[in-house]
């Protein structure tokens, strides 16, 4: 087992405990007098109209989509960057071609107007 990761494992557990503590303390200290109006959905004092579902733009999805593609690209490029010293110029050019293909994707999205927030 990798010792470096044990620390992370314990850290995850402790990092969850630390913010939990004030919430638990607040549970004991804070008053609790719920009533119907207080528990209602907050909307600047108005009563809520309609349900939570409002129409969302497809644009949100499109940004997430471009983000996903670039995320994968970065995952591919990190090993490339780490192994940089071992690579001949030829291999670096291959890496650059890899990036350029995706730059093409970005420019396609740009030309098609997919980046506009309309």
């Amino acid at each position: 087992m990798q010792n470096t990761w044990i620390f992370i494992g314990i850290f995850v557990a402790m990092a969850a405990v630390f913010p939990l503590l004030p919430i638990v303390v607040a549970k004991f200290l804070a008053p609790s007098k719920p009533n119907a109006i207080k528990l209602d959905t907050y909307e600047c004092g108005m009563e809520t109209v309609g349900d939570t579902w409002v129409q969302f733009k497809v644009q949100y999805y499109i940004y997430a989509l471009i983000f996903l593609i670039f995320d994968i690209e970065v995952a591919f490029l990190f090993p490339f960057a780490v192994a940089f010293d071992m690579l001949p110029l030829f291999a670096v050019v291959e890496g650059i071609i890899f990036i350029l293909i995706l730059v093409g994707g970005l420019f396609y999205a740009w030309r098609k107007g997919a980046l506009e927030w309309t």
């Binding site: 497809v58 999805y61 989509l65 996903l68 593609i69 994968i72 591919f76």
Partner: protein, 102 residues
Amino acid sequence: MIPLSWYLYLAAGLFALGLFGAVARKNAVAILMSVELMLNAVNINIVAFWRYLAPAEIGGQIFAIMVFAVAAAEVAVGLALFISIYNSRKTIAADEINLMKW
């Protein structure tokens, strides 16, 4: 020490769950999620085989990274299709999308 079998059994269980979801779920997005479960089961297997049977060959990890790329492409296109279908038909229930059925 963990024997290889544990990973393989776990992956088999996860794959079966994913298969069940992909066949039985009604909502198309849920089906895609189930497909992700199956892909993850496969990835567990790939990495476990790499670690236990061929740790000197880096190809095992490369293969797993390729699975990530394929999964991402699949999700991107699949969800775009569902959104498009929803916009024209107002439903993404899998058994109501029967455009290509004969």
